[in-house]
């Protein structure tokens, strides 16, 4: 009798875990990050739902970029950073010692604040990630590059000049090229670190539209300085301040009826 109860309990928990895993692509547990002596991210527990857009907002220096960069271990590059806690991708902690960082970064792509295409041709920019992952077949490369550029809504603008230098593109085009480059390696999650902060409104609108389209295939986390942008494109919003997660909820709830005073003050523009 007792044994059965335990079994049931186990089965129930297992089921609950499975539904959790099905629903959530990534989650963090008690995540803390230090840069040297600075405690940049404090005890974050956050779950990221599959095929949704999660926006992270907050004033400058609130740790939102640091948090984002920890999701694909980009902080590893920084010498003095230290991390505690767990970040699960599906059911695997990406900070486990047996995890291949390269594999993690392939699964979790990233688009940076400043568009940073390599000083190579458009074609080679998108091909780079595929090449370092060992793909040599030219036919496959060409197909994949066309697909990625189409997904990034750039194909029509560049199809007849794939061999020209990527740095000759406009700012918005460069950013979409960076998105195409990230998509080419078939990630499961795409992280955006203030992707529009250097772009004009038209280019920004294009990228926002693109992100809406991308969430059908990918899970998206976007850090943004722009609250209207978060409201426009995200399904969930996390509000960070001084390294802490103040509030995390559905976007319309955050922007219409936030449960915390600080959140309300921030989104109504009382500070930040």
């Amino acid at each position: 009798m007792v044994k059965m109860a335990i079994n049931m309990d186990y089965a129930e928990r297992r089921n609950r875990d499975l539904t959790f895993l099905k629903r959530f692509k990534m989650s963090t547990t008690n995540l803390n990050i230090w840069y040297g002596a600075v405690h940049a991210v404090k005890n974050i527990n956050l779950s990221i739902e599959k095929n949704k857009v999660i926006a992270i907002i907050g004033p400058s220096g609130c740790g939102k970029s640091t948090f984002l960069r920890s999701l694909n271990r980009m902080n590893d590059v920084i010498l003095k950073s230290r991390i505690e806690g767990k970040i699960l991708l599906d059911e695997k902690n990406i900070y486990d010692t047996d995890v291949d960082v390269v594999e993690i970064r392939r699964k979790i792509g990233m688009v940076f604040q400043k568009s940073n295409p390599f000083p190579k041709s458009i074609f080679e920019n998108v091909a780079y990630g595929l090449r370092v992952n060992g793909i040599k077949d030219k036919n496959y490369l060409e197909q994949k590059i066309e697909r990625s550029l189409k997904d990034a809504a750039l194909w029509k603008e560049v199809e007849d000049r794939l061999d020209s230098l990527a740095l000759d593109l406009s700012g918005g085009q460069q950013q979409r090229l960076c998105i195409a480059r990230a998509l080419a390696v078939e990630p499961e999650v795409v992280l955006f670190d203030e992707p529009c902060s250097a772009l004009d409104p038209t280019a920004t609108a294009k990228i926002e539209e693109l992100i809406q389209e991308l969430k059908k295939k990918y899970t998206i986390v976007i850090v943004t300085h722009n609250m209207q942008q978060a409201a426009r494109i995200s399904d969930f919003t996390a509000f960070f301040m001084l390294g802490e997660l103040i509030e995390f909820d559905k976007t319309d709830k955050i922007f219409t009826a936030p449960s915390k005073k600080t959140t309300e003050d921030y989104i109504t523009g009382r500070f930040g």
């Binding site: 792509g109 940076f112 370092v132």
Partner: protein
């Protein structure tokens, strides 16, 4: 008004100072050409540059520069074969691999290499390296193009390393981050992103190092062997253009044919290094534009 006058005065002062160095350069060029060109009254252009014999004290004298040009070329190419891989590799180590402490240490050592006077290199070559080369390869003489090339190679390393290191460090961090984010490891990022992006600066360093090797005088005078004959292998004594001028200028009659011939060599050297510098400048500018 007074302030403006002061401003103008200061401007004029610095302008004058910088004009001074240009004036010196101009003076050198004028003297070079004034003393070098008269040799063409005696000997044709082709015979001077492609003549196979340099016997300036014979009667009649032979002023064929080909052995000297080939000597310089051989020693320089040999030096580059040694210094380019070592210099670029050190630059990569310093800027991409080394721990901050190791970085400072290696940088210091390489800078020290640049501070050693060339006569000390020559001395080291004569006393230590030449006998070693002679015994190791079983040669009749240790003072040859090979020994000179090793020393010049070492001497060119600091130039190549410091210019290349600057270029590699100037590659924006954002390129590397993008590469890491696509699943590239450190080595792939260095080889496929950082080095190609820094290539302009690295080639500038190589060309400047080449200029250093071509222009070096004392070391080659001491260890290259000094035979003004067309070399057939790296293990034969050679004489470079610079060593010829240094060795013979003191013993020639001012205004004589030999004197003018030595100046003609100097013109060739001047034009060569000038070309190297222009190419280096062009490359570094193109590099800067590419990275914006």
């Amino acid at each position: 008004m007074k302030r403006r006058q002061k401003e103008n005065l200061i401007q004029g002062f610095f302008c004058g100072l910088s004009l001074c160095s240009i004036l010196f350069l101009l003076g050198i060029v004028i003297v070079l050409f004034k003393e070098g060109l008269p040799i063409f009254n005696v000997i044709s252009f082709g015979k001077l540059f492609f003549g196979k014999f340099w016997y300036p004290t014979y009667e009649p004298a032979d002023f064929g520069m080909l052995p000297l040009i080939l000597g310089s070329l051989m020693v320089t190419v040999g030096a580059l074969i040694i210094s380019v891989p070592l210099g670029v590799a050190s630059a990569i180590y310093i800027s991409e691999v080394a721990h901050p402490k190791g970085k400072e240490f290696v940088k210091l050592l390489i800078e020290l290499l640049a501070g050693v006077p060339s006569v000390v290199y020559g001395f080291f070559g004569m006393v230590f390296l030449a006998p070693l080369v002679q015994n190791f390869f079983g040669l009749p003489v240790g003072l040859n193009a090979f020994t000179a090339a090793i020393l010049l190679g070492v001497m060119a390393i600091p130039t190549i390393t410091s210019v290349s290191e600057d270029a590699i460090s100037a590659v924006p961090e954002s390129f590397k981050e993008a590469s890491y984010a696509l699943g590239a490891n450190r080595w792939e990022t260095t080889v496929k992103i950082t080095l190609p992006a820094a290539m302009g600066g690295i080639s500038t360093g190589i060309i400047l190092g080449m200029g250093r090797a071509v222009g070096e005088t004392m070391t080659v005078l001491m260890v290259a062997g000094g035979a003004a004959v067309i070399p057939h292998s790296f293990f034969e004594p050679v004489r470079t253009m610079t060593a010829t001028i240094a060795a013979e200028m003191g013993e020639t009659v001012v205004g004589g044919e030999h004197f003018h011939a030595l100046f003609a060599i100097a013109i060739v050297l001047f034009l060569m290094t000038l070309t190297f510098n222009i190419i280096a400048d062009f490359l570094s500018q193109r590099f800067r534009r590419r990275l914006r």
